[in-house]
């Protein structure tokens, strides 16, 4: 008994040691680690990595982690010194990483310092230059927002695709946009939202699907409304130091937005938490979903529902508006191989790799020359993406607000916006939240 127990213990120790060795010696030591979160883009970047390895001889290990775990794992990696050499970065996160000296300046490494940034869509490259004047990411894609709609429901409501492209909106009565979503809302008895006897408490189909209250930026929730009033998130962008959530234009827009729930045109906030908006859209619970271009594959991939895309409505300024956001690749400050990492970043942001990404028809490539290719690839899949590209062509985009303290701002604004959209407090309560936000910059 004793002998066998000791033997077991010995075997366990051996296994432990063996596994430890296996875990530490992952692949060859000079392979670069690269992380991204979007599985839809994984095949394209695997192709890019293979091409990169072929031309440079540098191996790349790609790890894909879901959005929820991505940032915590990355932050852990920074603390533990195990962060990937290169990773996909987001505009809302990188100022904090820069402030904590966790990113390598791309100007300090040869391969990325020499990249000609004029190949990128206008404005994208500048977003990644921090306050110290140094660049911390090379753009890889961009996104705008548009309206995905259920063709059948639009036709049943008596609207045409053309009608949807010419919608107008204002914060007073919602314009033809609100007329549309009222018409599209149908209660349990089949009464439409613009007809007498509509029961807003028992709605079968909501005119507009709501992905959430939008925290402080409202990218896919309300920013495409508020921006058409001339409102901007911050005093300047990037690197503003004053937020404008106390602006009457903004608060009026938010009061209107929240009123859609009361009217029964949008689902109550609490019923959308944890639910997947695309799935409920496909299930016929809402007729229109506003979402980002990175969701094209998701919305058009459902069997049994015909989906088209229309641009967001024209607002009081006489123009449409869409937040313009883009991802970039950054280098971890603690990497052992800064030069190789920079070569990878430069390659992933090059026309060669971006053309592979464009062919995959999942996102819009940051390199302007690959744009037509992407549009054609989407068209081959039967998707007309002009609703997204029109913002770039017409110059109606505005940049994602980049400031310090992004995490704390979300911490203040997420509950404040939830309270407004769920009808607990009027939008005037945002003045108080705004004071807290601006106090962070003093």
């Amino acid at each position: 008994m004793r002998a066998s127990a000791l033997g077991l213990l010995g075997a366990a120790t051996l296994t432990l040691t063996a596994c430890g060795g296996g875990g530490g010696g992952n692949g060859s030591s000079d392979a670069l680690d690269y992380w991204l979160w979007d599985a839809n883009q994984l095949p394209a970047y695997e192709q890019c990595a293979a091409d990169f390895t072929e031309s440079t001889g540098i191996d790349v290990n790609i790890t894909q982690l879901g959005w929820d775990d991505y940032w915590s794992s990355l932050t852990n990696g920074f603390v533990a010194g195990t962060a990937p050499d290169v990773f996909t970065n987001h505009l809302s996160r990188y100022p904090e990483f820069v402030a904590n000296s966790q990113l390598l300046s791309l100007d300090d490494v040869e391969a990325t310092a020499s990249v000609d940034t004029s190949i990128y869509n206008e404005g994208l490259a500048e977003l990644w230059v921090a306050q110290d004047g140094k660049r911390y990411g090379l753009p890889k894609d961009w996104d705008t927002v548009a309206m995905f709609y259920n063709e059948q429901m639009i036709a049943d409501a008596g609207y045409s695709a053309e009608d949807l492209e010419n919608l107008t909106w204002n914060p007073d009565d919602g314009g033809t946009y609100e007329e549309l979503i009222a018409r599209l809302s149908v209660d349990q008895n089949g009464v439409r939202g613009d007809e007498d006897g509509f029961d807003p408490n028992n709605v079968a189909v909501y005119g507009l699907g709501l992905p959430g209250a939008g925290e402080g930026h409202g990218q896919t929730e309300w920013s495409y409304f508020t921006a058409t009033t001339g409102w901007t998130h911050t005093d300047e962008n990037p690197w503003g130091t004053h937020y404008n959530y106390d602006d009457p234009n903004f608060q009026q827009s938010m009061d209107w937005y929240a009123s859609l729930v009361d009217k029964g045109y949008m689902p109550p906030l609490e019923t959308t938490v944890g639910a997947s908006m695309p799935d409920t859209f496909a299930a016929g619970k809402s007729a229109i979903n506003v979402n980002g271009s990175w969701m094209i594959g998701q919305y058009t991939g459902y069997e049994g529902v015909d989906v088209s895309i229309a641009p967001t409505p024209v607002g009081p300024t006489g123009e449409r508006a869409s937040m313009f956001n883009g991802l970039a690749d950054s280098i971890y400050a603690g990497t052992d191989q800064p030069e190789e990492a920079a070569q990878l970043v430069a390659y992933l942001g090059s026309a060669d790799c971006q053309s592979v990404v464009a062919e995959a028809a999942v996102v819009f490539p940051a390199v302007s020359s690959a744009m037509d290719q992407a549009t054609a690839a989407f068209a081959d899949n039967g998707v007309d993406v002009s609703a997204f590209t029109t913002h770039v062509e017409d110059g109606t985009t505005f940049m994602f607000p980049i400031t310090d303290h992004a995490a704390q701002i979300d911490g203040i604004m997420a509950p404040a916006m939830d309270a407004v959209v769920s009808g607990k407090t009027p939008a005037s309560s945002l003045t108080e939240a705004n004071e807290k936000v601006n106090a962070l910059f003093e």
Binding site: G24, A39, G66, D68, N291, G304
Partner: protein, 306 residues
């Protein structure tokens, strides 16, 4: 003779006589079974559906566009293009690697925790030493500390030891002992008769021999129970493996499934793939339960009565 026949007759007659008093318990019982079985059925139904059609037929009781694509996806038998065509996300899950890691992780932690806890419990139950009760109270008090408080210091320690992304680092906080296991076994050891132990001592056996040849064999049932409980707990452990084991070589199933579930923000998960993987990953534990379930109940009852 009448004594043996009477119960037999009443047994034969009961089903024929309808009793209203029995209706309610039966309904409750059927409801309880339905409530506990339905989620498993729903997992099965979703895993046999095609993900792209699932949302448009959300209320269908039967699988939607019945196929085994989700299982093929989980086992890595489907190309990315096929997966995306079926409504998958294009994410792959290294199922066999994660399964292997889960088995290694749960087995080593269980074997270690049970063995070392047994030693500790023996010391607390059968040895007499100064301050034993004080130490034991202090030890029990650690059960009150929520694991989240120790996560960060443990993480930093593992980092400083250079054990991140290794199986050693993953099992280290669990492998030596858990206060619960020590407490559980100590209660059982306390109840064992002292005479056998004393007889062994008279025969010249020392503590080591007593522990291995008398205590452990006699405690087979509670040890098995503890092993099973620990194994299930380790199988489901999420937070620590997520913190420490991010590389594919050591990533366990729970973490793998979590990563597989969340893709891009606002995106919908590949439900059928997720449910297929969940179903398969639950099988080992379900099997263990089927084999040892009765033993657990018995041993818990046994140690409780004593």
């Amino acid at each position: 003779m009448p004594l043996t026949r009477a119960p037999h007759r009443s047994y034969a007659r009961t089903p024929q006589r309808f009793r209203w008093a029995n209706v309610l318990p039966w309904i409750l019982l059927i409801l309880a079974i339905a409530v506990s079985v339905l989620p498993f059925y729903w997992i099965l139904r979703t895993s046999l559906s095609m993900n792209a059609s699932l949302a448009t037929n959300a209320t269908s009781l039967l699988p939607v566009d019945f196929n085994f694509g989700a299982f093929a996806r989980v086992f890595g038998l489907q190309s990315t293009q096929e997966a995306i065509a079926q409504g998958g996300s294009g994410a792959d899950i290294n199922f066999w690697v994660y399964l292997r890691n889960s088995v290694i992780f749960a087995s080593i932690s269980t074997a270690g925790a049970v063995f070392f806890s047994a030693m500790a419990a023996y010391a607390f139950a059968r040895l007499r030493w100064r301050g034993r009760n004080v130490v034991f109270s202090a030890f029990l008090a650690t059960m009150m500390v929520p694991p989240i408080f120790t996560a960060l210091p443990n993480f930093l320690l593992i980092r400083d030891l250079g054990l991140l992304n290794t199986m050693v680092g993953m099992v280290l906080p669990f492998v030596f002992m858990t206060p619960f296991a020590v407490f559980f076994l100590r209660q059982f050891f306390l109840s064992m008769s002292r005479e056998v132990e004393e007889a062994a001592m008279l025969d010249g056996a020392k503590h080591f021999r007593i522990f291995f040849q008398i205590i452990l064999p006699n405690a087979a049932a509670p040890l098995a129970t503890l092993a099973l409980l620990t194994f299930i707990q380790q199988w489901n452990e999420y937070f620590w493996p997520l913190l420490v084991g991010n590389s594919d070589d050591v990533r366990v199933l729970t973490v793998g499934l979590g990563v597989f579930k969340s893709q891009s923000p606002q995106g919908a998960p590949d439900w059928s793939g997720l449910m297929a993987a969940t179903l398969i990953s639950a099988l080992p534990v379900l099997t263990l339960f089927m084999i040892f379930g009765k033993k657990i109940v018995n041993s818990i009852g046994f140690s409780g009565v004593k």
